[in-house]
């Protein structure tokens, strides 16, 4: 198990390999469909400091507010594939080092990870309550009114957020490996 704290260096991510279990501590920013579209089309600067050497988390949390203070109730990953058109560009323009999500991403993102030094990390889908407990504090929220709770940028402090490396910074993807192995078996089953 590898401990990483934000900001993360290029050297640190280049050292990760498929299957490594990583605990992320520090700051992660949630972003989904509306967020990625905005980051690419309008390139807002309010995220610059948070994302340089930083981590984006594909997540639309359940959030509660008590006495003006936000906290996460449930916060598992959402399907990352929807951000495939945007992710490589976001990695490049903000200097991201890691993206956390579920389900994996495609060739464009894998290439972006290799070129700019980033990794894709899988969290366990559906584990909303468990992952919310790794979020120790919600520091800020951006675009809440405009995007709504699931789509807003939530800036949070995490402690030992458990993830596994499934796309490394050298062009390898566990998702591609599973897809091709299962494809062979799928074809064998069809022929039966």
């Amino acid at each position: 198990m590898i401990e990483l704290t934000t900001p993360i260096s290029e050297e640190q991510v280049r050292g990760l390999k498929l299957g490594d279990i990583v605990h992320i501590s520090g700051i992660v920013v949630t972003a989904r469909d509306a967020g990625h579209k905005l980051m690419v089309e309008e390139r807002p600067t309010f995220l610059d400091e948070l994302l340089r050497g930083g981590v984006i988390y594909h997540c639309g949390p359940v959030v509660r507010k008590d006495d003006g203070k936000w906290s996460f109730v449930a916060a598992g990953p959402t399907t990352s594939a929807r951000e495939e058109p945007y992710q490589a560009k976001v990695i490049e323009s903000y200097g991201l080092r890691a993206v956390i999500g579920k389900g994996g991403m495609g060739a464009k993102t894998l290439e972006g990870c290799k070129k700019f030094g980033a990794v894709y990390l899988s969290a366990i889908g559906g584990c909303g309550t468990q992952i919310a407990r790794a979020v120790t504090e919600v520091l800020a929220v951006h675009k809440l009114e405009e995007f709504g709770t699931p789509e807003a940028f939530w800036v949070c402090k995490v402690d030992k957020f458990p993830v596994v490396v499934t796309m490394d910074a050298h062009g390898n993807s566990l998702h591609d490996q599973i897809d091709s192995a299962s494809k062979k078996q799928f074809e064998a089953l069809l022929a039966r």
Partner: protein, 290 residues
């Protein structure tokens, strides 16, 4: 507003979102046991089961995507359906305020979230009168990831050499699960509808998801296909969350309905491992939940 009915429905939604049905949890326990000790797939099941327990104890959502809400309602003769509809919408709003549900109703034109889970055709309500004197409300909370990988095919399909028979159906279910990989949060529960039109296909496929794990079709040929598909799909190696492993599906439920002579739809409703369904029954003012 029937406040008592509303509160009972809020409790139904709370249970659906925070307390995974026992049969689904048992299937996950069994899936965990089938993975090698020390393997990453076993580790994923460990986390899944821990999360299920934490959510139940804390009464917080198992998954932050508390899904689209589907209500299947049966009311006795003489029960005013408007009272039921009003209570269902109020319960969805209250359950959202109580953090049992994430606000998941977004205006498709403006992008604005209604904040309450109430909107046009949200929640989805199917309501019918039945001969029983009880009120039955079944709810399914189905996440967006699993909905995105659900799909509808037409037979015959030349690319798969699939014809209009159960062999053809088998090939399409294999394809749907292979295509989904881990994106629907595998291991999935697979609801399949054979026949119907494009609309009733999806509705009937989702209806199958209310069956309990292991509950086989009454039709022996269909039951046999269900069992075979579970075995075959679990050789694909997709595993929990698509990261590899021996369990890709928890079960396959197939239902058949009549079709137009010219059409033969096969509809696959993919449900994530967090198969959140609950039933509430009110009989002589006594409420029970399953």
């Amino acid at each position: 507003m029937d406040e008592k009915l509303r509160d009972r429905l809020v409790e139904l939604l709370r249970r659906a979102s925070t307390d995974l049905p026992a049969d689904v949890e048992a299937a996950l326990v069994k899936a965990r046991a089938s993975e090698e000790p020390g393997s990453s797939s076993r580790g994923i099941f460990d986390n899944i089961l821990l999360n299920v327990e934490l959510a139940r104890k804390a009464s917080t959502p198992i998954c932050q995507d508390t899904g689209s809400i589907l209500f299947e309602v049966r009311i006795p003769r003489g029960f005013d359906d408007r009272v039921m509809r009003e209570a269902l919408l109020a319960a969805a709003t209250t359950a959202t305020k109580s953090y049992y549900l994430r606000p998941n109703a977004v205006d498709s034109l403006t992008g604005k979230n209604s904040g309450s889970n109430v909107g046009i055709h949200s929640p989805v309500v199917h309501l019918e009168t039945w001969d029983d004197d009880s009120v039955q409300v079944r709810v399914l909370l189905k996440g967006g990831g699993s909905e995105n990988v659900s799909t509808q095919f037409r037979l015959p399909d030349s690319s798969l050499q699939a014809g209009r028979d159960l062999k053809g159906v088998r090939k399409l279910v294999l394809k749907a699960v292979y295509d989904a990989q881990g994106k629907g949060c595998s291991p999935g529960v697979i609801g399949v509808a054979i026949g119907g039109d494009r609309m009733s296909g999806y509705q009937f496929a989702k209806e199958q998801l209310f069956r309990k794990i292991g509950q086989r079709s009454d039709n022996p040929d269909v039951a046999k296909l269900e069992t075979e598909l579970v075995t075959d799909l679990n050789t694909l190696g997709i595993g929990p969350m698509g990261l590899g492993g021996k369990t890709t599906v928890l079960d396959v439920f197939i239902g058949a309905q009549h079709r137009h002579p010219a059409t033969y739809f096969v509809t696959v409703a993919y449900m994530c491992w967090a198969c959140r369904r609950r039933t509430m029954t009110i009989r002589k003012d006594e409420v029970t939940y399953d």
